[in-house]
Symmetry: C2
Subunit: 154 residues, 2 copies
C-alpha cells in the first residue's frame, strides 16, 4: 500500500477551497452516494462498529427497523465530505458538528448530504452551515457545522 497518494498529479481534486471573502450566506453544495452493503461492511471494519443491526439480517429483521440499516455515522460522513471537499473545501478547519439522526438509512438508499451557509463571522473567519442528509427528499440527518476558513488577508 502506498504511503501517500499524490492526488494533485493523479486526479482533478482541488487543493484549495474557498477563501472567507468569497463566501456568502445561502451558498450551498451537496454530495450524493448510494449506501450499499459494501459501504456498510467497510465502515464496520474501519470504525469497529459491528453492531448486528448493520451486519446481521437475521437479527435486524427482529428489530423495530425490520432489517439492516446503515451506521448513522456513515451517512453523516457525507456531510464531512461536502465540508472538506466542496464548501468551504480544502484549507478550512472543521471546528464542530451537531447531528440529529431522524430516520434510518437502508441498504441501497441514495443519500444526499447538503451544507448551506447560514452565518458568517468576519472577525473570526468562521461560517456556520446548516447540514442535512436526505433519502428520496426525506431528511434522515440534520445538524450544523462550524468551520474556520482561510482569509486572503489574514
Amino acid at each position: 500500500m502506498p504511503e501517500g497518494i499524490n492526488l494533485a498529479k493523479d486526479t482533478a481534486v482541488s487543493l484549495s477551497g474557498y477563501f472567507f471573502e468569497d463566501l456568502s450566506i445561502g451558498m450551498e453544495e451537496s454530495f450524493s452516494k448510494r449506501v450499499t452493503f459494501r459501504e456498510i461492511e467497510g465502515f464496520a471494519e474501519i470504525s469497529g462498529d459491528n453492531n448486528p443491526i448493520h451486519l446481521d439480517e437475521e437479527f435486524a429483521a427482529t428489530t423495530m427497523f425490520g432489517g439492516r440499516i446503515a451506521h448513522g455515522f456513515l451517512s453523516a460522513s457525507f456531510i464531512s465530505t461536502v465540508i472538506g471537499t466542496k464548501l468551504p473545501g480544502p484549507g478550512s478547519i472543521y471546528m464542530s458538528q451537531s447531528l440529529r439522526f431522524l430516520a434510518p438509512v437502508r441498504i441501497g438508499d441514495m443519500v444526499t448530504a447538503s451544507a448551506r451557509i447560514i452565518s458568517l463571522n468576519a472577525e473570526k473567519y468562521r461560517a456556520v452551515l446548516a447540514c442535512t442528509c436526505t433519502v428520496d427528499g426525506e431528511a434522515v440527518i440534520d445538524g450544523e457545522a462550524l468551520v474556520k476558513i482561510p482569509s486572503r488577508t489574514a
Copy 2:
C-alpha cells in the same frame, strides 16, 4: 460478497445491549483503535472525502498541520462504536451527537473513544453520554450523545 453476515453464529458479538433499568450515571465504556493510512484510505473511499489534507503528503506538508491528518469523522466514528456496541450497545437508538474537533489525529495515532453516562431520563428512557476521543491522554474530540434505550417494562 455475502449479502449478510451472521455475526450471531460466527462471532462473540452481543446481540443485546443494556436495558434502561440497568444503567446508572457514571457508567463508562471505551474503544481504542490505531489510525493507520489503511483506515484513512478506506474512510476516504467510503465517505468520498478525498480532501488532500488526508491523502496527499506533499500538499499536507505545506499546511498548518505539517503533514497528513485523519478525517475528523473517522475518529468520531469510534464514539459511535462505543455507543453501538458497548454502552448502551445493540438495541439502543442513536438520537443525536455533538462533536467538537479539538486537535488533529495523525497517521499512527492510537485513538481512544470513551462515553460516560451523565444524565438519565426515566420517563423517556433516554441517556446523555459525555463523549471524548483522546490521543496520548490529550482530548482530540469531545461532545455529547443522546440515546434512547430499550426498557424491560415498556
